[in-house]
Amino acid sequence: MMKEHQHYLSGMVKELKPSGIRKFFDLAASIKGVISLGVGEPDFITPWSIREAAILSLEEGYTSYTANPGLLELRQEISGYLNKRFGVQYNPVDQVIVTAGASQAIDLTFRAILNPGDEVLIIEPAFVSYAPLVTLAGGKPIPVSTHPSNGFKLTPEQIENAITTKTKAILLCSPNNPTGTYLNKEELTKIAGVVEKHDLLVISDEIYAELTYDDEYTSFASIEGMYDRTILINGFSKGFAMTGWRLGFLAAPQPFTEQMVKILQYTTMCAPHMLQHGAIEALRNTYHEVESMRRSYRRRRNYIVQSLNSIGLDCHTPGGAFYVFPSIKKTGMSSEQFAEELLLAEKVAVVPGSAFGESGEGYIRCSYATSMEQLQEAMQRIKRFMDSLESKENRVQELSTNN
């Protein structure tokens, strides 16, 4: 007779909280006819030439393993891309690793750098995977809350306040998921000052680098003095509309990549071979398509920010990614309650801000990676929802003044 299953499970895994997104997904998926602003991925299908390159790769029989860090040809393209786009130089042979999504790149990074108890600063509101991945690698995630008053931008003081003798690294994500906040060169340079002073590493998640709308992108590795301290994470998911491909990459000084390749070798061997051919095509020939997707997101950003503000949901204008993060504080509801009621009343799915950490409470994440028609309809429904709240409140007020 087997002991209770719980008994066999890892205590660490049991303690991980299920993602707040997962919970909301289950609810939203159970309702028909939902307009979703809840998705963290492009609404575009991967450009055809990329798909075709993968099909061709299969036809030609590329079904074997590749080198652990990926096809050299792809690493060369990545190296050239990083150099051309962001002015950073990495040797394709031993400084670039192709991974199964940026997700795996982040996981590899933490496993490669963390000793038990090492602290990693996670800038919140943050992408849902960061903290659990630090925990799984034996480290300790330390949340650093940013504030809406300055558009959720991280300041050097906020880092200073969170630093302890155990702090090893800081994870930056610009443009950010869920706030869309973009940090420009000047802001990154200030952060670099603290990083230098406290001898920290920076994991720079640049997955949304292709999706900035007002400024040219600055890669953290290109900031003076930071190259040797940076592990650059990027991938194809967002900019090239390739989420389901599970292809990403990282670039870092060779002492890091040397250790990461060992982990990769023992865990997954390599990213899928035929899909890597698609990625080569993506970097070589699809820049105009990336550009046209970017322009389309930009229009929709402008539309949704102004629409939400005019509905009365205060919303800063984010510089990148495809999310806006409006405040719902004035409704007096928690973000979870707001999201749930909106879903039930008007069938619009948004993600409660609390899913991204404590400082996300009072906000909701709306993704505008969805068609203009859907966005227009969603805005009408959200307006109706807000109006209904207001009239409810008026009635309550009338009742209480009458008494």
Binding site: A29, Q306, V351, M372
Partner: protein
């Protein structure tokens, strides 16, 4: 004519979908309704925006299916006026939906639409071939429309295959 960035932006929004209200276009390009209306008016006046037709797949509408033929035409250009005068005589016919001057094996490419095969045959034999400068015609019937003006017909790519909520 050179257009400003904003004008180009408005054009490409309209090209995608001209039914988006001016108010929404103004939000999309971060501009005022007055400015966007003025831009649209200017683009219409300049005949940069030529028309706002709906692209309709008539083959799906019972009783409304059209027969479409493309006709290659060789002509002897008239002294002094070249091809333009012949072209004008042809494009005045209402059944002609498009007409291009081509390089290569023939001179004019005509698309015509009719209800029946005999209607098209009559157009070719009675109207087109009898024009003075027309030397020869080759008629190709269109069997199926897969893509027209950049739009793929009957494609189901609008379907959102994503989950409702994702990270």
């Amino acid at each position: 004519m050179r257009l400003s960035g904003e004008e180009l932006e408005v054009l490409s929004i309209l090209e995608e979908n001209h039914r988006i209200p001016v108010q929404d276009i103004a939000l999309m390009v971060n501009s005022s309704v007055e400015d966007v209306s003025a831009i649209i008016k200017k683009l219409e006046d300049e005949k940069i925006i030529v028309s706002y037709p709906a692209l309709i797949d008539w083959s799906k509408v019972a009783g409304e299916e059209n027969i479409v033929a493309m006709i290659d035409v060789k002509v002897t250009p008239k002294r002094g006026v070249g091809f333009d005068e012949v072209a004008e005589r042809i494009y005045r016919f209402p059944e002609v939906t498009s007409l291009y001057l081509m390089s290569g094996a023939y001179d004019l490419s005509i698309t015509i639409e009719g209800k029946t095969m005999s209607e098209i045959a009559r157009f070719v034999s009675e109207k087109l071939s009898t024009i003075d400068n027309v030397i020869s015609t080759t008629t190709h019937f269109m069997l199926k429309k897969y893509k027209h003006d950049g739009v793929i017909f009957g494609e189901n790519n609008d379907r959102d295959r994503r989950m409702v909520v994702s990270p």
